[in-house]
Subunit: 413 residues, 4 copies
């Protein structure tokens, strides 16, 4: 039989920034019997989840659902809109922005990778990995591109590796101000349904997301929210594509079906997720995550450790990165905490590996769950020999006690 | 659809002293299809759970399983061994001891109810509700009963309403020293599989237990562990009985079946529970609960509040009762904590209602779960206006960090 | 890990007359986390299931829910209304009527057991076991009881061991015509929510039922539907009782709680069951079972075998008993069918053991499931050497094809 | 709440040739909590499923698992081995072979599509859709390709749209006899774990499969079983690829992890599936499906209808296609059967749409389930006005009764 936790008692605390803890309601829905993907019940399900997804993306336009995990949705966005050798403007905000750029290279595209140069004196970490996108850098680059060789600007909305968000409206303005025809493609894999995202209002052309973050589902399905412009561009783009091709998906989706076998049981979960999110209201969902982020940061500040994101204006509501003191290996700490306290934290990735860890505050979470995670971190930091300025748990308790959630997030009477 | 938590996000913290949090493995087993209770698969299941239960009760003799919750097992113990008007010796250790005595009255028996008189000067609470059974009082009473009118001594092993255990071996000695033939009947509903219990070695005649505590199951099945003497007595006892009658159950159980429809899906859960407990080893199970008890009491002491159980020798490893300051209604506190922090605590019962609450540390629990509960309590106490001497959460973190669980309770590599 | 079917592939066909196949929706609800039985969510659940149960029993008066299987509800009915030595009038309609009478004896009551004497020439089986209650026999006996020594008339509504129902309104008339004050107690354990049952209209005083039949739940909870007269009688009846006592249950139920720990997770299942039954409408539920009964009997007739119930006016809509030819052991047949075709059938019980088997058509069933069961029976009969007059499967297919279910029982468009 | 079956009672019969009915054990495993895909428990899971998959593919070489449905695995096979404009030899055996060829076109490749010309006089259906691959046609074509422009031969092992398998060893011989270096790529999406497939012995270079057929999982993960030659070829092939690229997957899989987020909860299901299949033994699994195929064909023959596959040597053990009489729309029949009998059958696809339907006999199935499906079909055919030569259900019952499954497929004692 399958054993998924080597600890002898209790429930694992999964406080990584995705896959997020999945509500039981969703797990149970996913265990319903698989049905015929060409039968009448399936069409009804398909139409319902497609309509709900549009509400969550805040769009009137089609959203393609892939039976593939999030990396696939990155590839789909590029494969549908680009032709071999096309130039892209990408921005280094952390590990996932870097991976997406590597994918563009692999697909035979020519990404330019803008970055904020230099390292932070306090931590020795790359500055680019402690901030969101600098829209001015983009504006500057686009102004120089009078030939319009740049086909798309690609940015990450919520950089899961650092806990910095990016101001997408500023990026949109930069493109518009430069009167540049480039598409705006946004990775909101870990942003959607946790951090505010408004596809149509913000003028995003391709919004990319996945199931295992704010939607509180296991990984395995992913999304491309489209704009009419993106759809138009896809008609002439020539990168080879079949599985990812929007045309057949958008066409078949009109009746609630897919051109090939969809990921049925994850769609069951998506149905529940959408019902839960929309019943609560997106603004309440965003407020919930913001509040947890504030509580987590209160703890990190009390410990006297740097928050990975150095810009208070773009703190992520989804996760908080914690920089460990020089000489303290963050991964050894994580391992100790996992073994002793049955708590999973996110590892430092790429250029900041070993120097930080990440606390997720998304998915099926509440104040006490987050406090438990902070307690595990605090005990682990002490056991790992980190001198703390004070008790982060105490600070977070003070925050949560004195800042009750708004009425909409409290228990119904 | 069924909604079991009115809070909008996250998993409820159930830290009452039972029903305890049920491991997912058990809940999933309980959702397997119901089978024919007269078919071959059922017989195999029946034999397996009966054998496992004997190991958990530490007995060689039959254990009757009732498709009824724990109160039924109290009635079964009395109905099988007593005749109308029989005298019983019972001991007031708290609410459940009191309820059992009321049941004896309702069944037409004549319970004598021994108690430790007086109230505690510090808290104003009845002394009897802050201690376990005083075996000397029993010894004294039995010595006077030269006519052997007392047919049974009935004690509660782990008094769920107070968090005090009782020394069952001392009670056994008291009976033996008095050379008294009374049966020894022990309610170990909340003790079994959490606190040490040794049916045969301790010389218990009827051990009464239920599913929803240390066995980590939902309520709905309960047990009578028997001694040969109890079985012999039942042959002549004349209280009317049918559903509870041991004779047919013990007879049918030889082949793994029951005289009437058993509680099939709870037996599935029992199967998993027994596999989990016996794989871990009973001594490890007991050690796990003792360690949590120590952590919880460290917190209560740091807050500067009295622990309901006033005798350190008999602190319960299953739950910790916390006495609130005079003037602070414990139930209003509990309600506030439930609403704000999605945490359920046990209410004060009977003579101590409103003056204390109970923190359960049993079932599917671990250090972080308990710390989360203590954080909820600490925030709630402050919000409720209770002046605390210090941080209980800090004290419990210090305890857990400096007292790692023994190897057998840590994660397998 | 738990193995509940020793066959290597496929889903078991459970076609016994209870426990009935449980819908997945109910099994999933039962696997939700156990909650605090004294918390606010529980009270809401309690009130909802109590209200729904009244609708299913078709009563305005209290229904007591026991965390115990059906046999317990028999005992509850007697313990609450009878005094030691009281006389009861019971009627032999089969095995369960007999067991109930044995229980009355065990509880120290004095049941008179009316029976239809003689054996059936065709099958050699007792005539009483091939018919429902003969109300005239009851009327006759009551008329003789001018001293009103008979305290209750106890009948089985749907005799699960034979597949004969009884006309409860005729029994009621017999009592009324005799102007006799006896209570009318009806075991509708396997009738409720499958066969029509109208507690108030029919004038039943105690209606007894269980979870594992028409309510489509696993066994483990059971019911007493009460009349004001039954409640009044219980105030003076003197059989000892505590667990079964109506008074505290009825009192506590007003707020949705119970005097002792209820069977929480089965109540989750009950919640779903009631939602499903009431959404479909009781009349549709009754029609569905009647139709299956007709299909099953068409098959038995085509085989040329006797139906256990010899009176077409009282054929059970819940199960069909099939009499095997003399010399063919019905249990060996059942065993062969179970091993070869993964199908469970009901055994012959008591006086008809080995001479018949039972096909259940209740619970999570549909036309194809029943046809599959009939196919398993037909193959088994042939393999067991029974000469058949024709194909029962063919007859049942003809019936189902030519008698579509009413619109309310077909798939929603 | 999610409603997946619009019928009011009973369990849906899913007898399409995939997604196959998923065993409860697998559905329950899939509902376990999602874990950290970078934690220690995940690595252990990864290694275990990768090892088990090799056993099922019967290969010593790597198997890539994609978090994508089966169509993705087709694309992966092409994207890793082909360069733009490459020539492929594909064979028209039905709808899925046709779709794969269309995908090759979309990806900018140059597939040649071999076919068996002509239509069948009996049914008017294309001959190519009633047979498996004709290896001689392949041999002939390869002999002409002295320049070795053909880079791969692509065939479908079990054509899900027709119920004809293909002799893969004959195709291998054709390539070898022609001393041709083309890769052999085999779609065994609906063959693997139902029909015999031996990757290494048969000399397949890329074996493509999916989760939702013989592996009895929901759709959403798919596989490429590789040969050393295929891995070597992939190093120089130049189709752009990133998500599908074997190199990083094979590298990361050595430690049980994946380069991007895997489909965690479907991997839980895969773990159970592999345990079930390997415990039973692959030969037993193949025998089980063959036996069901024989039963299903006995029914079709008794009805007097043509079996879609016209070559008895390559009847599929996974599904049986049934040709309807001219003038009878197979899809209207399917719709009638779905509405009346809660049974899903496979639709006719592509060139045979409306002229046939398909009965799946795979996944969580047994004799009675298949008989139920045949009963639904038989009633539907009659209601749809099709004159039948005889009872298919009777024929299948006769077959199953007289051909017991081998001991290994019967219930354990």
């Amino acid at each position: 039989m399958l054993t998924l936790d080597h600890h002898p008692s209790g429930r694992h605390f999964l406080q990584i920034p995705g896959p997020s803890p999945v509500p039981d309601r969703i797990l149970r829905a996913m265990s319903l019997p698989t049905i015929d993907h060409r039968g009448p019940e399936f069409g009804a399900l398909g139409l319902k989840v497609l309509a709900g997804l549009k509400q969550v993306f805040q769009t009137q336009h089609p959203v393609a659902i892939y039976p593939a995990s999030g990396t696939g949705a990155w590839e789909a966005a590029l494969a549908n809109t680009m032709s071999p050798g096309d130039t892209l403007l990408m921005v280094e905000t952390g590990h996932f922005a870097t991976l997406w750029q590597k994918m563009a290279l692999r697909l035979g595209l020519a990404p330019e990778f803008l970055t904020l140069p230099g390292t932070c004196p306090e931590t020795g970490l790359p500055l680019a990995w402690r901030h969101g996108v600098n829209a001015e850098l983009i504006a500057e680059r686009l102004r120089k591109d009078s030939a319009h060789r740049i086909k798309a600007v690609c940015v990450v909305h919520n950089e899961t590796s650092t806990g910095a968000t990016s101001d997408i409206t500023a990026v949109r303005r930069a493109i518009d101000d430069a009167k540049h025809p480039a598409l705006l493609m946004v990775d909101t894999i870990s942003g959607l349904a946790s951090a505010e995202y408004r596809h149509d209002t913000w003028g995003v052309d391709v919004g990319i997301s996945g199931s295992q973050k704010g939607l509180m589902l296991p990984p395995g399905i992913s999304f491309n929210a489209l704009s009419p412009k993106a759809l138009a561009v896809s008609k002439t783009a020539t990168l080879p594509r079949s599985f990812w091709a929007w045309d057949e998906i958008v066409e078949m989706n009109r009746s609630g079906y897919w051109p090939y076998t969809p990921n049925t049981n994850l769609l069951y979960g998506l149905h529940e997720s959408l019902e839960m999110l929309l019943a609560q209201g997106l603004d309440s969902v965003f407020a919930r995550h913001r509040r947890w982020g504030e509580g987590a940061r209160a703890a990190v500040r009390a410990w006297g450790l740097p928050i990975q994101c150095a810009d208070a204006a773009v703190y992520s509501p989804v996760l908080t990165g914690v920089v460990t003191p020089a000489g303290v290996d963050a991964d050894s700490l994580r391992q100790l905490i996992h073994q002793r306290f049955d708590l999973s934290l996110g590892t430092g990735l790429g250029r900041i590996k070993g120097r930080m860890f990440r606390i997720g505050h998304l998915g099926d979470c509440n104040d006490l769950t987050l406090l438990a995670a902070l307690a595990g971190v605090e005990m682990g930091l002490k056991l790992g020999g980190v001198a703390l300025a004070g008790s982060g748990v105490q600070a977070a308790m003070d925050f949560f006690a004195s800042h009750p959630a708004p009425q909409s997030l409290q228990a119904a009477a």
